[in-house]
């Protein structure tokens, strides 16, 4: 699933596309974060892997957020950390929503026993305690960049698939789908040519919401020492801060607070964008809101 194919339905919207202040705030924040991640080498004052000063330095002009336990510049670590957090978020979300869309379309369009089996599977995934399962899988698969993405992707697809299935059920009854059916199009062709484009905008909203939870989960796994040991993510900065007891000294103000705020801001930015998109794109959510407003 490429971003181009996701963008097409958005470029020619049927309705007027209103995201609202909250939505645009989220988008702006996301753009800023993505730009930071992309421009990390030119933005960050030091190479985050280099020991550039004495360890445990307080903030100074040279190191605005001080240095960590091995003398690396914390600000540079955080700027580079945006790359890992966003990449993991996007890739894991892409995987989750890819699976979710596939399952949602199959369940919604084919119905019958396929629907029953797939939706029971969704229920099962939702009951299992999520983080402990991830810890189990991450412990077995070993800490690595791709393992984290795969583990998150394999476990986050359930919610998107439910939402997309609901949308498929309503699209299925539309005239053009019935027309295609009457013309004798095979089910696979209808699903790919008619159903998929209709649910893609909603899948985009789900993608953004999934990215929001993926970033939080990556942070938690990295914090538990189950992240990629060679990658500097915001979660792993906090892991070392915890291991070195930074929160027991004054160092927490510049070592613990900033990475946490960045994780919160990123998650919030994704959530704002995702919820606003969902509200614009999902007629059922909007309908219910209006009913409530009577």
């Amino acid at each position: 699933m490429t971003t181009a194919s996701l963008a097409i339905p958005l470029l020619r919207p049927r309705r007027r596309f209103r995201l609202g202040t909250v939505g645009w705030a989220g988008v702006a924040l996301l753009v800023a974060l993505t730009a930071t991640a992309a421009l990390a080498p030119s933005l960050s004052p030091y190479n985050p892997e280099d020991t550039v000063a004495d360890p445990f330095q307080s903030p100074s002009r040279a190191h605005p957020l001080g240095t960590n336990d091995i003398g690396q510049d914390i600000l540079s670590e955080l700027i580079y950390g945006a790359r890992i957090s966003l990449t993991v978020g996007f890739l894991a979300a892409a995987m989750a929503v890819g699976i979710g869309t596939l399952v949602g379309i199959a369940a919604g369009y084919l119905g019958g026993w396929v629907d029953t089996v797939l939706m029971r599977a969704v229920d099962l995934v939702l009951v299992i305690p999520f983080l402990p399962l991830m810890i189990l899988l991450a412990a077995y698969l070993g800490p690595s960049f791709w393992n984290i993405i795969i583990v998150i992707g394999l476990l986050v697809w359930a919610r998107p698939s439910r939402v997309i299935r609901a949308q498929v059920l309503s699209v299925k009854c539309l005239d053009y789908v019935e027309a295609a059916l009457a013309l004798g199009s095979p089910a696979r062709r209808i699903m790919v040519r008619h159903i998929l484009p209709a649910v893609l905008p909603l899948a985009l909203a789900q993608f953004i919401l999934a990215a929001s939870s993926a970033i939080l989960i990556e942070a938690a796994l990295s914090f538990l020492g189950l992240g990629d040991p060679t990658a500097k993510s915001w979660g792993s900065v906090l892991y070392y801060a915890q291991v070195r007891n930074a929160f027991l000294s004054g160092a927490w103000v510049w070592w613990v607070v900033p990475p946490g705020l960045l994780i919160t801001a990123t998650t919030l930015a994704f959530a704002f964008t995702g919820y606003s998109l969902e509200e614009v794109l999902n007629p059922t959510v909007r309908g219910r809101r209006h009913a409530a407003a009577r």
């Binding site: 299992i128 305690p129 412990a139 938690a220 929160f247 027991l248 613990v256 946490g260 919030l268 219910r288």
Partner: protein
């Protein structure tokens, strides 16, 4: 109603079966010898004889289905195996930790539900007001905060900084307290981890309650109640809140797994001796049998709690009772 419970039970049994199967398969599916995962990383230093012994103990020389039967039979007897880090039975290790987690998660769930429901009802009742938008904003903020980070900040401020509360553990180490003093000591250790858990759990309850209240307030019977002159406070309490609670119960149930996961991370930050902390220690030590045993028990607890909620649900929703 019994059909509903039976259907749910079948679903939970399936989850349980999958968990057991996953636990059985994982060490045997990994590249390399399953011995590393069953006996520990010292396996390289074992003599040929010791290896053969371990092989026989886990039945690795037998066909896989027979291995599974042995494994399942052991589980059914409550035999979770031994920690290869400490050589202790895993069931006993978990037994020691479980009460602490039940205390933390149980209290957290009750407090978060009460506060979340109250705030959600209030926000919906005053829809669009400063109170509504303010609580909504704060709820979304706390939904995006990483739990472990919130815990670290609370420790830094209230324990390390102000010195009001202890930094870690579930009780003061090295002193034996009794009666009231002991209780106070335990409670003081519980305050920060519990606050962290409650703060990150409230937003989910709040958002559902607010949403559910908004749709209930749009219903005809609310207008009817008002039209016939029922006092606003009574409409709020009897007509609106009571009906809006149903989705909250359902969603809380679904969220239980997430809350337990949140507790895992929080216990780690506070070195709180619950089962989540045990899981973390096992991961640090690469103590695979303990990781598996802990995961299994966490899953069983979540399933049991879900089943309990399903059985209690008809009490709050009569429609299910008659269905």
């Amino acid at each position: 109603m019994w059909r509903f419970v039976a259907g749910k039970s079948a679903q939970y049994l399936l989850v349980l079966a999958l968990t057991v199967a996953l636990n059985f398969m994982l060490p045997r599916m990994m590249p390399g010898s399953p011995m590393v995962f069953l006996a520990g990383e010292d396996v390289g230093f074992l003599t040929q004889e010791q290896r053969a012994q371990l092989y026989a103990l886990h039945g690795l020389d037998q066909p896989r289905w027979k291995q599974f039967v042995t494994y399942a039979a052991n589980l059914a007897r409550g035999q979770l195996g031994y920690s290869f880090q400490r050589g202790r039975p895993i069931a006993a290790m978990i037994g020691e930790r479980l009460p602490w987690t039940f205390l933390l998660v149980g209290l957290g769930l009750v407090l978060a539900t009460i506060i979340g429901v109250a705030l959600g009802a209030l926000a919906a009742w005053r829809r669009g007001s400063a109170v509504d938008l303010g609580t909504l904003g704060v709820a979304m903020l706390f939904e995006s905060v990483p739990s472990f980070w919130l815990g670290m900040v609370l420790i830094a401020v209230f324990a390390a900084g102000l010195g009001w509360l202890p930094i870690f553990g579930a009780g003061t180490a090295g002193v034996s307290l009794h009666g009231w003093a002991n209780l106070v000591d335990r409670a003081r250790h519980l305050v920060l981890p519990l606050s962290t858990l409650v703060l990150i759990t409230i937003p989910g309850v709040f958002l559902i309650m607010r949403y559910s209240m908004l749709s209930v307030l749009g219903e005809g019977y609310i207008a009817t109640a008002r039209a016939k002159g029922v006092a606003e406070a009574v409409v709020l309490r009897r007509h609106a809140v009571r009906n809006a609670l149903l989705p909250v119960a359902t969603v809380s149930m679904l969220n239980l797994g997430f809350i337990v996961g949140g507790a895992t991370v929080i216990e780690t930050v506070f070195s709180y001796p619950g089962i989540g902390r045990l899981l973390y220690e096992a991961v640090l030590n690469r103590d695979y049998p303990v990781i598996q045993g802990t995961f299994l028990i966490i899953t069983v607890s979540v399933i049991a709690a879900n089943l309990l909620c399903d059985l209690l649900y008809p009490l709050i929703d009569p429609r299910v009772r008659h269905a």
